[in-house]
């Protein structure tokens, strides 16, 4: 197992390097220039200076290598310095956002909590709802719970979140006025009142994203359960006199969860990337919103960095999913 993990990590390095080149190249090809963000009133010499200081005009490979060094060397140094109060970085140049001129990682750190609370909660809620529904609707196939679950999942999965989001806003925020339509990112939780307010404003976005994720996970759970329910070992368990509870929740669920856990693990990088659309609809100032903003502003370092972090997470969670598979399924041995 350990050798397998090490080997996979080793293979991940060239993969990620290749991804980083491709991302860098594609982002670079995109039309538009960071110069357009500089006000027109700025005199041309100053404008040239600014662009120069940003390193915009250097050749592609120079900018790429610099970014690579900053990403893998300088930024970790700063992180260590920050955590342990050391000074390894010694003022080295960090990855700087073109538009805000502050370090990209600072922006990410600042935005991350919004994304994690809303998107993360939505994902957690989705899992908690989806698993029991998926298990029950498979066990009672074609019951009304199953039919309803199928219908809601179809809707949840096929209707895009910008539509469900807007519909929920119109109904619950505008018409009924039960919830705010805009997420207040400046809210600080200091007491029960503000905690309640936070939960209150999270409900709509969590519902929109949760519905979407729950739809997918519950479908997976259901079909995996169905597949296992018709297996011979289920009959053996019943013939041994096991209760339905044990048969379904122990024997069948334990087998069915193998692919479902994998799907859940593979979905986790999406939590970091934020749900771009949902963040947009509810004006949540998270990573997804930062990425969209950066794309509009031709803020190349920001776009590259966020995209690349997402890529790292995807590669990592793929590995985690594979490891989980091996842990959950004794028939699989990695060596």
């Amino acid at each position: 197992m350990l050798t397998y993990v090490l080997r996979r990590l080793f293979i991940a390095i060239p993969t990620l390097l290749l991804i980083s080149v491709v991302i860098f190249f594609l982002v670079d090809l995109a039309p538009g220039s960071p110069a357009s963000e500089i006000p027109l009133t700025v005199p041309p010499e100053v404008r040239a200076k600014i662009l120069e200081s940003l390193g915009v005009n250097a050749p592609f490979h120079v900018r790429y290598l610099l970014w690579l060094k900053q990403f893998f060397w300088v930024e970790p140094m700063y992180a260590i310095d920050y955590l342990f109060g050391t000074d390894y970085a010694q003022g080295a140049q960090r990855i700087i956002s073109y538009s805000s001129r502050s370090p990209v990682f600072n922006i990410i750190i600042e935005r991350l909590p919004q994304t994690l609370t809303v998107i993360g909660t939505a994902y957690a809620v989705a899992i908690l709802i989806a698993l029991p529904i998926g298990i029950y609707s498979a066990y009672r196939q074609y019951s009304w719970v199953d039919q309803l679950g199928t219908f809601v999942s179809m809707v949840g999965y096929s209707v895009p979140t910008f539509f469900t989001g807007v519909v929920l806003i119109v109904i619950f925020a505008v018409k009924l006025q039960w919830f705010p339509s805009i997420y207040d990112t400046t809210l600080r939780i200091t007491d029960w009142g503000s905690l309640w307010k936070q939960i209150h404003q999270m409900i709509l976005p969590v519902a929109v994203l949760g519905l979407y994720n729950a739809a997918e996970i519950s479908r997976y759970t259901r079909s995996s359960m169905l597949e296992n329910l018709s297996q011979d070992y289920v009959r053996t368990a019943r013939a041994k006199g096991m209760s339905e509870r044990v048969v379904v929740l122990k024997h069948v669920a334990r087998n069915s969860m193998i692919p479902v856990v994998t799907i859940i693990a593979l979905g986790l990088p999406g939590v970091f990337g934020g749900a771009i659309v949902t963040e947009q609809v509810f004006k949540i100032n998270g990573i997804g919103a930062a990425l969209i903003g950066a794309i509009h502003a031709n803020d190349l370092p920001m776009v590259q960095t966020i995209t690349f972090i997402t890529a790292i997470l995807i590669v990592t969670f793929n590995l985690i999913a594979d490891i989980l598979y091996g842990v959950l399924d004794p028939r699989i041995r990695y060596d």
Binding site: Q231, D232, Y233, R235, T236, A237, R238, A239, K240, G241, M242, S243, V246, H251, R254, N255, I258, L328, D329, P330, R331
Partner: protein, 342 residues
Amino acid sequence: MPNGAKPVLQVRGLKTVFRTRTGEVHAVNNVSFHLQRGELLGVVGESGSGKSVTMMSLLRLLPAPPAEIRAGEVLLNGRDLLQMGADELRDVRGGKVGFVFQDPMTSLNPVFTVGMQITEALRKHMGLSKAAAETRAVELLQLVGIPDARKRLKAFPHQFSGGMRQRVMIAIALACDPDVLIADEPTTALDVTIQAQILELVKELRAKLGMAIIWITHDLGVIAGIADRVMVMYGGQVVEQAPVRELFANPQHPYTRALLKTIPKISGEREARLKVIEGQPPMLSAAPSACPFRERCEYRHDRCNAENPLRRAVDGREVGQGHDVACHWQAPAPAARETAHA
């Protein structure tokens, strides 16, 4: 009753129907039989004759829907399993009645250790502690001839060969000292030498533990070697039933006679088994109002098309007690008895 003993299992008028989209399938039709303590009843019949569905109906193991048990009673020690509450029935399953299924490759749960799958039943039915259950599981694995038993408890099913898995299945079925062991073609999926080993094992266990056994098979050769009594099924019905020597010496039903002819003289010619009976097995889409075997029967006459024959005694004893057959045709008395294969 022979010996005046009460049978451990008594099945009367069992009727099981599958309701499918294309209509009903009458898989088990008015099946009655009994099983004495310590007796080995062989059940033969070609594929689709309703052997498995009959046995699974006894313990209500069929998924409902589509299966529906329409009629009958299944008395285990005098108590009707078909009328029992779910909890009580679960005490019978794996407790008083052990079940071994056809395919050992898929009948064990792949993600749990063999030890867990044995102890689970022990803990439920016998209320054993974890340690006590494990000790008993080791004994069971030794009983069914699995070497290095204590270590093997921690192994997963995929780490066993097919024959070893079937031994594990037998260990599970025997775990709680059942009165009845139902073995549904336990050796069909295994190769010939392993089959022979499993057969030996069951004979030995039967001598040692003395439970009653229902042994389902395609293979009359196997039946001849181990059974006390034989029940022949065709089209969801019992067409003939007799003590094993009697059946081989004096088969009555045309189907049984055809079956006996298909037994290879030298064991090993396995291709020649049941396929040589001409014709197709019957469609079971309607409750039969005629003899299910008539299409393939060389002795067919008008009555066979009009009336499904009831089981009638051949040797003057009560139906079910001696030799009986469900056929309108009267087989000629055997010229001599030395033709017996048994």
